[in-house]
Subunit: 266 residues, 2 copies
């Protein structure tokens, strides 16, 4: 009897059977749409990007790991393929599956990014992400000013209305904020810039999270956003570039101010 399955009270008392009929708080049932392999990939991915598994570290063998998780080896292997496809692990026969060096991680992959920001983000990584925004978004705004269609302007305008109506204290307002930046990247009409929407969105959302949590009465973001919109509407690339850079700088200052206050004051 090499592999036990579905026995209610077997040798692993603290590990509830994943497929038991009452798995309420089990970590692997959060995303209902995620299949088993997806859940495993997500859980393991989070452990990797959070540093719980160190780069270069050798993971357990497939039989041992799948056995410990009470899943079939096939499902576990599919999870490995997902993680390998995102650059988090590398598998080789006879040697095993090891965690890749962080340089090889696909940090801009939407899943990897969401796994990273599942918990309080690393400070340096967050500032790196803002640096990226500061480089990407002004350039994208300039392109958007040249290429935007009326449809894009309308999307951006609606997003601005939503931001003004709900404010960043409301989920709808935060969504509108992200939609504004997403619409702007779409207006740049560049497929590669559009794929960066997830990254920009993550940075945007963490800005507002920090602000709302520690400093709810902070600066009104509407003027900056409107300036960007006006410049794009006026088809003025230079002005759009400048306005967007100003916006990102102010947003970054918001988060760093909050961070500083958390360290010194509290």
């Amino acid at each position: 009897m090499p592999r036990k399955k579905k026995s209610s009270n077997d040798s692993a008392p603290a590990a509830p059977s994943i497929r038991s009929s009452l798995p309420k708080s089990n970590a692997r049932v959060r995303r209902r749409s995620l299949r088993l392999h997806g859940s495993i990939a997500r859980d393991l991915g989070i452990l990797i990007v959070s540093g719980r598994y160190k780069p270069g570290e050798l993971l357990n063998g497939e039989i041992a790991a799948s056995d410990r998780l009470h899943v079939s080896r096939g499902a576990y292997r599919e999870a490995m393929r997902i993680l390998a496809a995102k650059g988090l692990v590398e598998s080789r026969p006879k040697v095993g599956t090891k965690v890749s060096q962080p340089e090889r991680w696909h940090l801009l992959d939407p899943d990897v990014l969401s796994w990273i920001f599942e918990f309080e983000p690393d400070e340096k990584l967050l500032s790196n992400l803002f640096e990226l925004r500061r480089i990407i978004e002004p350039g994208a705004a300039a392109l958007a000013a040249e290429r935007r269609t009326n449809a894009h302007l309308e999307m951006m305008s609606r997003a601005l209305d939503g931001m003004a109506k709900y404010t960043l204290a409301d989920e709808a307002g935060r969504l509108a904020d992200q939609e504004f930046h997403s619409a702007l990247l779409s207006a740049s009409d560049n497929a590669f810039l559009m794929t960066l929407t997830t990254g920009v969105g993550a940075a945007v959302s963490w800005t507002t999270i920090f602000k709302q949590r520690d400093n709810p009465l902070a600066r009104d973001p509407m003027p900056d956003h409107r300036k960007v919109y006006e410049a794009v509407k006026a088809s003025d690339p230079a002005a759009a570039h400048k306005a967007m850079m100003n916006l990102v700088d102010l947003a970054f200052l918001d988060t760093t101010n909050v961070s500083k206050r958390k360290k010194t004051g509290k």
Copy 2:
């Protein structure tokens, strides 16, 4: 007998057995390090990004597809997981696996990018990639000017030596070119910018490919590169930004000039 396997002369006469002992020109044996699932993912990925399979199109069922390819269903499924992880396909029970809309593709994923550029690249996508370079690299150069260590300078210097020694007509020279840009992104000390190395590298390599193929006596790229290097060495962000933008602009002009010549002249 629902599934036939390994019968030499069955109902699929034109499909040679993948695991036969003499698979010389078979498309699936190119990358020796790629496993079966990796080869399938690569082949199918290329078919998708090249438009052979249209977005929204429903792929064959797993049993039918794996049967047609003469591989096990498990291997085929692992390939699907890889493609799904890169945003190329989406699977749902009862409905099947369909090709995702291009907006969802992870274009900056190294594999996806290499699959795209497996064949002559789409003109618009290539220009989009240059737009990205034009936005990313100047900003990265500015950061690199502030943060570069001596080790980075040495890497860049060695890369410049290699470019001068071998020229872009030689493989070693092209490699040195990529190493220069890679080292500069590393010097920016930003994890997200570093992940864009692949994308920049693809654009760089296609520049030189076009130039060498259609216009071997073109402009010498060394002066532009040296200017960037000097500015980074001097810790002058503004100068580095300017020099790098100039470099990218000239490189982009090279490719467009070649394209134009190909269309008009020839």
